[in-house]
């Protein structure tokens, strides 16, 4: 690049020498590389990898907001609402933004029903986010929003209400503040009940106001409703009968379960002590416990009919075989088994009716441990019912190989084997249903399910029904189980409580029975834990509860009375038993 033109103003000797050829080329190349980089980067951002910037741009104005879904309702079999979610609002604040005048603070405190100092304490918090109050009624929340306080915000939540309160508490369980099931049906059927919140895209302006809906990304799916097998009327009957007994006998706890014999549905399930699911502050574990399903106990004499039935079934004895229970005690190994009083010679029916331990043990001696184990197993002891209820107990049935003779004897009258109250009730289905067991259901079933298995023959079940009817009669242990208008059948149980491996002088009184005896429709099982008002026999404590529940339940189901009652007058001519419309 030698400049041959004579340039007078430029006589710099340095230039005279001329630059090496590579230097300007290098500079040019450098510049070219820089501009290529820029062009390449621009093309990359604009053309090839533009999602990121587009997303960033969109995020300045479009937002995806969640659309809440409601949790399904729980209703009883007739559609009465037992649990429903309704929206409430929670008020929260960003303490650093919330600079409230004293007057504002006062009006906010009034609306929140809080003390001013308490509110100030919360607003002085170090944290970025504090709840001022959760689950407020929407009207109150609206009035708070109208105050337009800086730094005070609200958001929508759902709250679950249980109109049944204490009556249905254990059955339904409850949900937490996040509207997810924590106990009972709410937990067992959470997957079905809970909704799937959806989302939608909106365009928001600078102030966050939604100015346009763009699209619905995913529509919310509301939770499904759950229809329980429970009948609110029967549930209430059972609840008030149990509460009455708890008070009369000053008992520690109790439970009742009512089953439909034809469908295996759980018509009522009550525990005491109970709790109010709408206000759960200060709850104790004892109140929360669903004893009917989760607690096992040694049932005592309510187990005897199964031994009697097995003896009849295997033709070890006939109905008229005489079993001598004198002198009211017997010794096995080093242990002595005794009766409450001497009964003398009894038939199988008499053994059950008088609830003779000695007689039952003599019946049980006809069997090998394996035979007895198999019957207990078939009746469902030691196996959970798989109702899907949280914490369901399976009961305890040890393998037959490990039974000692004295254990086989005590198991015959319900000690050394244990089950929950609902397992006991279900086992009685075998008597009430001509020998068959049904799967139980907490939800309404529209067609009777297929039987699980046959445990006894039809003939044995019918014989046992007669025996149990006598056991609940004037000659048996539970004349107080009698109901006017209906024939009832059932068995009492009075079991010593097992504590720390030793039997104590505290009792569990129980009664399991069914009605009407001529054609059973319901099974009612009652358990009263530690009655302390003097009486502790199942016939005195639990049988009256049974009677009260049976009377009301059969009337509400419209079952025709099967026992003669003396009517004051008869309308028209009534020759054959009338068939009232059945309410299912």
């Amino acid at each position: 690049m030698k400049n041959r033109r004579s340039v007078t103003f430029n006589h710099n000797p340095l230039l005279e020498k001329g630059l090496p050829v590579w230097r300007p080329r290098l500079v040019l190349l450098g510049l070219l590389a820089c501009s290529l980089t820029l062009v390449g980067r621009a093309a990359w951002l604009q053309g090839f990898n533009n999602e990121f910037l587009q997303a960033e741009g969109k995020s300045r104005y479009s937002r995806v907001i969640p659309v809440p879904a409601t949790r399904g309702r729980i209703t009883d079999r007739n559609g009465d609402v037992l649990a429903v979610s309704t929206p409430v609002r929670s008020i929260w604040a960003i303490p650093s933004d919330a600079r409230l005048s004293p007057a504002d603070t006062r009006s906010l405190a009034t609306l929140l029903e809080m003390d001013v100092p308490e509110l100030n304490r919360r607003l002085d918090s170090e944290r970025d986010f504090v709840y001022l109050k959760r689950q407020l009624a929407p009207e109150v929340a609206r009035r708070i929003a109208d105050l337009k306080l800086p730094g005070v915000h609200e958001h929508e939540e759902y709250r679950r209400y249980y109109p049944g309160g204490e009556v249905t508490a254990h059955m339904l369980g409850f949900t937490g503040v996040d509207d997810r099931g924590q106990e009972g049906i709410e937990l067992a059927f959470d997957a079905q009940l809970k909704g799937m919140s959806g989302s939608r895209r909106v365009i928001r302006d600078r102030r966050g106001q939604i100015i346009e809906d763009v699209e619905s990304i995913r529509p919310p799916r509301d939770g499904e409703n759950v229809v329980l097998a429970m009948d609110a009327k029967i549930q209430f009957l059972a609840y008030s009968a149990l509460r009455h007994a708890m008070q009369t006998h000053k008992a520690k706890a109790g439970g009742v379960v009512v089953l439909d014999v034809r469908t295996g549905e759980v018509l009522a399930l009550v525990n005491a002590p109970t709790f109010n699911p709408n206000n759960r502050s200060g709850l104790s574990g004892a109140q929360l416990r669903n004893r009917v399903l989760t607690d096992v106990f040694e049932p005592g004499s309510t187990m005897k009919p199964f031994i009697g039935a097995l003896a009849l079934e295997q033709r070890k004895v006939a109905l008229d075989t005489i079993i001598d229970t004198d002198p009211g005690r017997m010794t096995i190994g080093r242990a002595t088994i005794s009766d409450v009083r001497r009964h003398g010679p009894l038939t199988v029916g008499g053994v059950i009716q008088k609830s003779s331990n000695v007689g039952t043990v003599k019946l049980a001696m006809h069997f090998t441990p394996d035979e007895m184990w198999q019957m207990f197993d078939e009746l469902g002891f030691g196996t959970p019912l798989n109702l899907g209820f949280p914490g369901e107990a399976s009961g305890r049935l040890r393998p037959a190989r490990s039974w000692r003779p004295i254990e086989q004897a005590t198991m015959a009258y319900g000690h050394g084997v244990s089950g929950s109250l609902i397992q006991m009730a279900r086992a009685y289905l075998a008597f009430a249903r001509d020998g068959e067991l049904l799967p139980l259901s907490l939800t309404r079933v529209d067609a009777p399910p297929a039987p699980v298995r046959r445990v006894f023959s039809t003939e044995t079940a019918r014989q046992m029904r007669q025996i149990l009817e006598h056991a609940a009669g004037p000659e048996g242990t539970a004349p107080k189980a009698q109901v006017t208008g209906f024939r009832v059948a059932g068995k009492t149980g009075t079991a010593h409580k097992l504590e720390g491996g030793r039997y104590t002088d505290r009792y569990i009184s129980s009664f399991v029975g069914f009605a009407p005896a001529s054609n059973p429709r319901i099974i009612v099982a009652v358990m009263i834990d530690e009655p302390t008002a003097g009486q502790h026999f199942g016939g005195a404590v639990a049988a009256p509860v049974f009677a009260r529940i049976v009377e009301g339940t059969l009337r509400s189901m419209g079952v025709v009375p099967d026992a003669p009652v003396a009517p004051l007058h008869v309308a028209g001519k009534v020759e054959k038993p009338p068939v009232p419309k059945e309410r299912m």
Binding site: T70, V81, V84, T86, D213, T484, G485, A566, L568
Partner: protein, 88 residues
């Protein structure tokens, strides 16, 4: 040539305007749908609250109390129940 161009341009413009219009319409309909859905949700909520109210009023404990104390009703004794046969 220029005519064809003008024709094509006018078609392009018309179609662009059509896109804008239909987009606008779609958003309008969508927001209408949203409004109706919101209304449905509100009604659903109200229904739930009414059901709640109904079952609170119809709570069996309350019904029993009123029946027994205010109205003086009592359960019929079995002997006083008359069974009526409905002729078929």
């Amino acid at each position: 040539m220029i005519r064809v161009d003008a024709f094509l341009i006018s078609i392009a413009v018309a179609s662009a305007l059509g896109v804008v219009a239909s987009q606008h319409q779609a958003r309008q309909i969508f927001s209408e749908l949203e409004r109706e859905q919101a209304r449905a949700r509100e009604l659903e909520v109200e229904w739930g609250q009414l059901q709640l109210e109904q079952s609170t009023w119809a709570a069996l404990a309350r019904v029993e109390l009123i029946a027994r104390e205010r109205l003086g009703l009592q359960e019929p004794q079995p002997g006083r129940i008359v069974i009526v046969e409905v002729p078929r």
